[in-house]
């Protein structure tokens, strides 16, 4: 049966179906969920999805349910090792509690990147970069 599926990038996703996966989106969202289906554009169907945010050495989860992700926004799709998942040295906290910290972190990072881009453009002779998701 395996030989019928051509060895292409999307063909190799067959093994990942019905497994717990991590999806990183272009806007930086990290989604954990069970991959139920995909197609040639890497459109994904994730079931029992949670969105995770990280700040410092803590993380928090928000329940999101069934997701249909448009392929062009996917940066990374990775399988989660269920055995090692519990050994992650991070502390889980309440989502509401971490949300403010996370937003502050994100804002600070954005500011830093803007300052860096400005220096690169004005003093170092680099060209300007575009908007969101341009890094990919």
């Amino acid at each position: 049966m395996d030989s019928l599926i051509p060895f292409t990038t999307s063909g190799s996703l067959v093994d990942c179906v019905d497994r717990k996966m991590l999806v990183v989106l272009r806007d930086g969202r990290k989604l954990h969920g069970v991959l139920r289906s995909y197609d040639q554009f890497a459109n994904l169907v994730l079931e029992d999805t949670v969105e995770r945010i990280y700040a410092g050495n803590t993380f928090a989860e928000k329940w999101c349910g069934l997701f249909l992700i448009r392929g062009e926004n996917v940066v990374l799709l990775g399988e989660i090792d269920l055995d090692q998942e519990d050994d992650v040295p991070l502390r889980q906290v309440d989502y509401k509690q971490l949300d403010d910290y996370y937003r502050q972190d994100a804002a600070a990072k954005k500011q830093r990147e803007e300052a860096k881009a400005k220096i690169l453009y004005e003093q170092k002779g680099f060209c300007k970069e575009g908007g969101e998701g341009d890094g990919y």
Binding site: L4, L25, R26, D27, R36, S37, Y38, D39, N43, L44, V45, E47, C64, G65, L66, F67, L68, I69, R70, E72, N73, G131, E132
Partner: protein, 128 residues
């Protein structure tokens, strides 16, 4: 069940929540899915739209979203089960019309044709 056929099956079912990107601005759009196509273009009814920060709301009666601006769709959890049932029912109906054994035969035939060796052999024969 491909992602887009799941969306197809979600037509006329309540509540699809979308996040899309319009002029670099993220918006949340919640509404009834009315229609969709293979480009993921969708039309929604009874729409609640929010801005990126989620502090302003607009109610819109109908809206159309171009598929390419969509980041993701959130659909009701129950949809997977509904779709599965619909599919089974459709398959049963198809079997009834064409006859059960015949369907099995077609499946096996297609599987054989897809295998490499027979196809390769024929091609070589034609070349000589």
């Amino acid at each position: 069940m491909l992602p887009l056929s799941l969306l197809n099956a979600a037509q006329n079912k309540p509540m699809v929540r979308t996040l899309h990107n319009f002029l670099q601005e993220r918006r949340n759009v919640n509404g009834h899915l009315v229609n969709c196509d293979n480009f993921m273009n969708i039309t929604l009814r009874e729409v609640y739209q929010t801005n990126a920060d989620g502090d302003r709301f607009w109610k819109v009666k109908e809206c159309y979203i171009r598929g390419s601006t969509i980041k993701y769709l959130r659909v009701p959890d129950a949809l997977l089960d509904v779709v599965k049932e619909d599919q089974t029912r459709a398959r049963e109906a198809g079997k009834g019309a064409r006859g059960g054994t015949h369907v099995g035969g077609v499946g096996r035939g297609r599987g054989g044709a897809r295998g490499g060796p027979p196809r390769g052999g024929r091609a070589r024969g034609r070349g000589i």
